[in-house]
Symmetry: C2
Amino acid sequence: MGNREKIIRGAIELMNARGSAVGTSALAEHLGISPGNLYYHFRNREAIVAEILTRCADDLHAILDVSDQSEISPERFASCYVGGVRVLFEYRFLFSSALELVSSDASLTAAYRKFSETSVGQLKLALSLARAVAASERALTDDDARRFCQNMWLIWTGWPRYAQVNLGRDMDQTDQMECLRHLTLLIEPYVTPAFFQAVSEQAVQQFAQPPKTLA
Amino acid sequence: MGNREKIIRGAIELMNARGSAVGTSALAEHLGISPGNLYYHFRNREAIVAEILTRCADDLHAILDVSDQSEISPERFASCYVGGVRVLFEYRFLFSSALELVSSDASLTAAYRKFSETSVGQLKLALSLARAVAASERALTDDDARRFCQNMWLIWTGWPRYAQVNLGRDMDQTDQMECLRHLTLLIEPYVTPAFFQAVSEQAVQQFAQPPKTLA
DNA sequence: GTCTATACGCCGATAGAC
DNA sequence: GTCTATCGGCGTATAGAC
């Protein structure tokens, strides 16, 4: 693995642990390279964050993409949750320190905004396909469906920070499972009991499986 | 109004707008006083944030305190939401930059954690009193009631940041109303239609009234 | 590609005059 | 109580040797 890749991974690791304020010198020291070396691989500090944001967005959008489905299965629905929780935890500092990141750079702001909008849109699509399955008696207006998905996004992205601050330690598997439970609790009233049951079981099952690692 | 009070209010204003990274020099310049003057009134920068956190916690806890009720009315329930949204917006930087604030100081961490825990506990109490009113068929286990209140807290405290980042402007009245709608959407499945209707109407009505200002 | 050395600016905080 | 002046430290970024 080249230094460029090491820098990206080290930045994610350090910023997840200490917040986005981690500086270039601290990062270099953590990696055992010189501060100057960072600037050979990246134009500046923001370029590192920008690349991490892009990776996160790509990973999540791949997982939440259900545009090829006409009706979503409990398995697929659960995989959105499980995969999404994994990704959002992996890059959690992006959401815990969103305001700081965004206020430092205009192009980051645009990228971040697009990321949120696309994700919420994907959730909305998945929800509409799932509601067809669910045949729930509790219908949502279009505005309320949007609010519902925004709520889901807020919990999804907010839980890591909440857990980190309030539990006083960094995240582990248990906290990810708890995040899953918070999310499934949210959808429970809007799907049929059978669908909810199937999603819950699938979520636990898929979560127990090791995440697919990149080659 | 003395300079001490000006500093507190100016800090809230600036940090809400620009994030918690606002420095002492920027703050002093904004207020038209000298940087040194800050340190006459406060031991250091953290002392300013700590006092703001205390004020926020006191304000919110007063609003969410329903421990004197045996059964909560829709009016009282709505007043928790409306008052809470107002308070959390007033001090929104505390939640948008929570990780940064907390990681800088150990005593702040403890205060912040206690604040969250107490608030979620208050929500849980209010919910249990409201469910008695609601006689809803959708019962929550104790664990799920806790998760539900944590979800509410996450939306409550996360919405300002979400709106600020994604709408690209600072908050206004409309955004507060939207936050209210997100919160009421959350409780809708767990209360009777009549109770929900009453809470919604009360929320709109109370929100339209000018907030009570301090003398 | 990686290093050392360093310039530059900003911020938190203090000293001491008024 | 408020000011000016200033110190020391840290963080970003660059220059240039290897």
